[in-house]
């Protein structure tokens, strides 16, 4: 099952490689990983999307907690949460496609942020599955380039991950 794991870690050189190294050394699956400093510059917030059996996820959480630089770990799937990912898609926009691409982008609440002679760049935010759905709605031949940030997650309401 897919899990979204959030963690706070010391914002130190090499901290990211410890997490990435842990996943590769123990053969854990990693779908995406995002990381950036928080409002407290000494802390980085990381969101990891992974999948595995309950036992594997339990081990992942324990192993992450064991890393000396990791301050707190939260499995967002243990409660209610919001997941968002940003995607930039460059699509063909020539002839009839110019109108068609605009329409599909509007349906998915995307924004066209760059317009060129033969292409649009569409910005789209949402859950990973919404972004997947958008890509599926497009004909493969019109997609010129795709960039995704990987998911960021946050607990709903009182679920707060903070030091």
């Amino acid at each position: 099952m897919k899990h979204i794991i959030s963690l706070l870690m010391e914002n130190e050189a090499g901290a990211l490689s410890r997490v990435a190294g842990l996943f590769s050394a123990r053969a854990y699956n990693i779908e995406s990983l995002t990381v950036a400093p928080t409002e407290d510059a000494t802390l980085s917030r990381m969101t990891i999307v992974t999948s595995g059996s309950d036992e594997v996820i339990e081990q992942i959480i324990k192993q992450l907690n064991k890393l000396v630089d990791v301050v707190k770990v939260l499995d967002l799937n243990d409660g209610r949460y919001i997941e968002r990912e940003l995607m930039l898609v460059k699509v063909k926009a020539t002839g009839a496609l110019r109108e068609e691409m605009k329409r599909i982008s509007d349906i998915f609440r995307g924004r066209i942020i760059d317009v060129a002679d033969g292409s649009y760049t569409i910005e789209l935010t949402g859950s990973g599955s919404k972004l997947d759905a958008f890509l599926e709605a497009l004909d493969k031949t019109v997609i010129l380039e795709t960039v995704r940030t990987g998911a960021s997650g946050i607990g709903r309401g009182d679920r707060i991950l903070k030091v």
Partner: protein, 589 residues
């Protein structure tokens, strides 16, 4: 950078700060080897007299010796190596300590800050290289960070589940100046190991233990590292339950005690392995259900039992085997609390059930699985050498071993009644540790009997350390069980590869007696069973001499019992099986 390369009043150099930190940590020995990147450090070392530096002949041995010093004393071991090849030579030692959770601080020199990333001479990314085999590591970038970083390093190494910590220090940093201020204590928001176990869980554990009909206690290296032997003995005696130790846990419970069933695992006793499989309540303490101990986890879990697991590391719990009642905490603290709860308890263990259970265990014991055919008057059996070693040293020596058949025989036939006496590489299985391990033990306890049980394959992996032994007058006794084979490899090839002895024969061996003598040490050749005991007595009577004992042993001897790889813990081949080798073939088939 500020003006930290100009010394001001009250300031000392980075190298001197390192010396002061080691002094503050009461370090007695630093095992190391000098080189370009650590020249400032070695210059500061030259001017101090708080600790002794042990110059090894290869960095791997420095780390092993520091590791053994820690295993024997419980203190943090310290090694010092230069950058590049010095650092990479240390890696096997670091990984060995990591697998066995040994607290250690390894200081490695690094090329000057400005040269990092330039592919400088003797540059290697030590923090990157060691990341998967350390508890934590640091690269120091400012002279003012040295003291706090070393404080953290010692604290992290020794607390929680212990482990090695690498501190990589660029050369320029050791020449700059700063004031020395060593923190008394340290707090890290990201690192807060649990000490005390959950009281509710502890009460539940005692209740489950008292309800057991076929109880079993299984303890590992964590019990030894956590110095909890006394608490375990108290608990086991109060309950009257059987106890087994893992390879790493030997000595955790006295081997000569009647409640002791011997070592368990791949080469464990018939009674220990069967009791593990058949018990209805299992108390696991500081052990991790690894593949060499439990064998196939599916086979182990095919029968129901309630498992209580005490460990300081939450990630050790339910990793290979799902447990019913986890208790995360320092084993000594948890066992002490269990003893208190038990003392206040009015319920007693089920005496009738226990009697039946012990009767069953005694039937398994009667198999005498740890025995061998000692009838030959011409060929020395390796097991016999270990038995005699145990007798001659009155079971009270520090015994280090390398890796292979001799390691298993030492574990099976030397009776360890005390913890921290059996020093071996259990997790990583590193050949070559035996001699440097013996150095670490002998330096820690200069008057103790230290025996290095080894094979002719393993000993040659760090044979250069004979020179170190000579330099520091270490009266180690090397017990070489020389069968002219990589014995364990040969045994597997015999059982599972139809006797195709691929590259397992040790040809062109040196004359070990002459080799020892060339270092000014004493060498002995022993090739008759009748000479074994006398030779051992002679060797150990030379209290201040290093003696290299070359025992020519049976080439065909195998280690039994044996659980073939991937089999269940109770699916053992015994030496008494009419044709053990066929039995092995069949099981593998």
């Amino acid at each position: 950078m500020d003006d930290s390369n100009q010394q001001k009043v009250g300031q000392i150099s980075g190298a001197e700060i390192i010396m002061r930190c080691l002094q503050e940590e009461n370090v007695k020995f630093v095992f190391g080897y000098p080189g370009g990147a650590v020249l400032h450090i070695y210059d500061a070392l030259f001017k101090q007299n708080h600790f002794k530096h042990i110059l090894v002949r290869h960095e791997q041995a420095a780390v092993h010796a520091a590791d053994a010093f820690s295993r024997a004393t419980g203190e943090v071991g310290v090694a010092l190596v230069t950058s590049g090849p010095g650092a990479t030579n240390a890696v096997t030692g670091i990984a060995t300590a990591y697998m066995d959770s040994i607290p250690m601080v390894v200081i490695s020199g690094q090329v000057p800050t400005a040269a990092i990333g330039m592919d400088a001479f003797q540059e290697v990314d030590m923090v990157g290289v060691t990341r998967p085999c350390v508890k934590h590591n640091f690269l120091i970038k400012d002279v003012r960070d040295i003291a706090i970083t070393l404080k953290k390093a010692f604290y992290i190494a020794a607390s929680g589940r212990p482990g090695p910590v690498v501190v990589d220090i660029p050369k320029d940093i050791t020449a700059e100046f700063a004031e020395f201020d060593y923190p008394k204590t340290i707090e890290m928001r990201s690192y807060t190991p649990v000490v005390k176990g959950h009281s509710g869980q502890i009460k539940k554990a005692v209740k489950i233990l008292l309800e057991a009909k076929r109880p079993m206690i299984y303890t590992g290296g964590g019990l030894v590292l956590g110095d909890a032997s006394n608490e375990l003995v108290k608990l086991a005696r109060a309950l009257g339950y059987p106890v087994t130790n893992t390879l790493m846990g030997l000595g955790g419970y006295p081997a000569t005690d009647k409640q002791y069933l011997g070592m368990l695992g791949m080469h464990g006793t018939y009674e220990a392995n069967n009791a593990m499989q058949d018990c209805d309540v299992l108390l696991a303490v500081g052990a991790r259900f690894d593949d060499r101990v439990i064998g196939n986890p599916d086979h182990f879990l095919s029968v129901p039992r309630t498992i209580i697991h005490i460990d300081v590391d939450p990630s050790s719990i339910s990793k290979r085997v799902k447990v019913d009642l986890p208790i995360v905490g320092h084993v000594q603290s948890v066992l002490a609390e269990m003893n208190e709860v038990l003392a206040a308890e009015t319920i007693k263990p089920d005496a009738a059930a226990l009697k039946t259970w012990w009767a069953k265990i005694d039937v398994w014991r009667a198999k005498k699985s740890a025995s061998y055919d000692g009838s030959s008057s011409t060929i020395i059996k390796p097991q016999y050498v270990i038995e005699k070693l145990c007798e001659v040293t009155k079971g009270d020596a520090f015994v280090t071993s390398d890796v292979g058949q001799h390691q298993m025989w030492a574990a099976q036939y030397y009776k360890f009644d005390k913890p921290r006496r059996w020093i071996n590489s259990g997790g990583l299985g590193t050949m070559g540790v035996g001699l440097p391990y013996a150095m670490g033990c002998q330096l820690a306890f200069p008057d103790a009997q230290v025996a290095c049980v080894t094979g002719e394959g393993s000993i040659q992996m760090n044979i250069q350390e004979l020179s170190t032994c000579k330099q520091f007058h270490l009266p180690i006794k090397v017990i070489l069980l020389n069968n002219r084979y990589l014995g364990m490899v040969r045994q597997w090839q015999e059982f599972f590869y139809e006797n195709r002895y691929s590259e397992s024969y040790m040809d062109s061996l040196p004359d070990f007696v002459k080799l020892a003598e060339s270092y000014g040490l004493i060498g002995m050749n022993i090739d008759k069973p009748g000479d074994v005991e006398g030779a051992l007595q002679d060797a150990f009577a030379m209290k201040d001499k290093f003696v290299f004992m070359n025992f020519m042993t049976d080439q065909k001897e195998n280690v039994f019992p044996m659980v073939p790889n991937g089999k269940g813990i109770s699916e053992m081949i015994l030496g008494s099986d009419t044709n053990a080798n066929d039995a092995a073939d069949e099981m593998e088939g």
